[in-house]
Symmetry: C2
Subunit: 346 residues, 2 copies
Amino acid sequence: MAENRTELNQIGEFGLIERIQKQFSLQNPTSVLGIGDDAAMIDAGQDYLLVTTDMLLEGIHFDLSYMPLQHLGYKAVAVNVSDIAAMNGKPEQITIGLGLSNRFSVEAIDALYSGIQAACENYKVDLVGGDTTASASGLVISITALGRVAKDKVARRSTAKNNDIICVTGDLGAAYMGLQVLEREKQVFLTNPEMQPDLENYEYLVGRQLKPEARMDIVHELAEKNIVPTSMIDISDGLASELMHLGRNSNLGVKIFEENVPIDSMTYETAIEFKLDPITCALNGGEDYELLFTISPADHEKLKNHPDIHFIGHMHSNTQQNVMVTKQQTIVPLKAQGWNHFKSFE
Amino acid sequence: MAENRTELNQIGEFGLIERIQKQFSLQNPTSVLGIGDDAAMIDAGQDYLLVTTDMLLEGIHFDLSYMPLQHLGYKAVAVNVSDIAAMNGKPEQITIGLGLSNRFSVEAIDALYSGIQAACENYKVDLVGGDTTASASGLVISITALGRVAKDKVARRSTAKNNDIICVTGDLGAAYMGLQVLEREKQVFLTNPEMQPDLENYEYLVGRQLKPEARMDIVHELAEKNIVPTSMIDISDGLASELMHLGRNSNLGVKIFEENVPIDSMTYETAIEFKLDPITCALNGGEDYELLFTISPADHEKLKNHPDIHFIGHMHSNTQQNVMVTKQQTIVPLKAQGWNHFKSFE
């Protein structure tokens, strides 16, 4: 195999997923939708059963030097619930695969599970199974979430229509800035262990990084208002990357307006402090776990006064044009930076 | 936390599972059965949907120095399908969480997926989703399998009846002996890399270790003969351990006869060569992925000539007596050794 070796970072995460997707086709009539959305769809009579798996690995997705185990447990569940939310579904069950090294005590595992339990209670999901094993190295958490959605209420990535309004919940870039703050304080601590970490002024950002919430509240509110998003995705890799998914999967282009992209003032100020461009943090930061969705223009009226839903642009027919109109009214192409964990440790 | 530190190996795998189980209760009406069987049961109208997760970690569950990636992919699917089989269900979908370090080339990942694909075709399952990410250390594979079973056909661990006949498929201990052979040849190779591994005479054993099959054939045959096992479990940790699960969960005792425990002649001879007791290998070896089940005595007639199903004993009412009658007619208690990966790297 040495003669013909292609490095993973030559094709990247999305390249790898596409490669896998091409290789596998669906055989069972109950398999309605496979790889390529926030969750798979399985036929379950009047509903679709939704299935999604997310894995969190120590040293890649979290750093236990500043991530308390309880928060980690909560986050591991929340990010999976977020994928169910992104299909407009309600989560019902999870299974957990856990790889533990001997450096974890029973008390540490209890802390991890207390976070998992808090998330289960909050999102009304049942832990129904899993696998616990030793790990030769770091902590490994793999969660599969199952959810349900009525067949006529499912929101996929591929079903946005031309002129649909692009909506985003909450605010963006905060989780990324929280990570920057935590990384800085870690470096300070490593240099001088006497120093107390200075997190007080960054509480919101750090909280967004350490304890994200899945926006099930939005899923419930949309149902109450009788709105089915024409497409939806959760923002795990960054707004730009997710917008490109919606555009490409729906065979449309996206146009957003910088001035409408919601950025919290603390995110904004901290970005400036770190000499980062706030809009870049919002576009490419990732881990916000907000929802990005499109609605028919006819539904705009029902949502226009919602304090936590922002209308950032619209879909259009030119698939070659995925753009942002800046505050200076210039048009810049969106770049799907996403994350590329394969590149991060070359 | 340092003042109050309980080591994981003080409570062991089963202790940890019990601890978790106590902490979580089921809230959703669709969650029919949670932790504690081969798979969870979710209400899906006329059927139960079955869900199971198994994780395979490099350095714990496999050694890439003798486990070809293609076989590993196959095995990762097979062990999950085996859990669905153990509920008397048919597998339909899987999701895969994959943690990869940069030492894996795209070609290596292709080899892994070609094994996964072969298993998907063989067991008629669809790969419907997953998560692929970087890993800071070894290869991590987490698979969740979904399956289905008609509600009146499900086989749980807890439903064996007094006097039911205990059946086991195939033969036992071969996968464990295969591992011993592979480990020995690895040591020989490490000592003298010029030496060719001597695996030719152990092909069956090595195959059982590297490429186990889930016994879906038995599930289909039982259905054809209109037999619903009164209880069932797959043999992943070793016969003794699984027998204890059936006994404890069904609130009964088990009695088996050594002379009826199926051991292949190659397993037997190789055990002797390794100075191991063949019956101990069969009782505690693990990874055979055969099915252990109980049937009502009334069904014995329908199965008695089946070449691959062995009647090794029966359930009885004394929960304190989990015993084996040896070839010398002495009665010895069964010990659930199971595996304890937590102990293996203290």
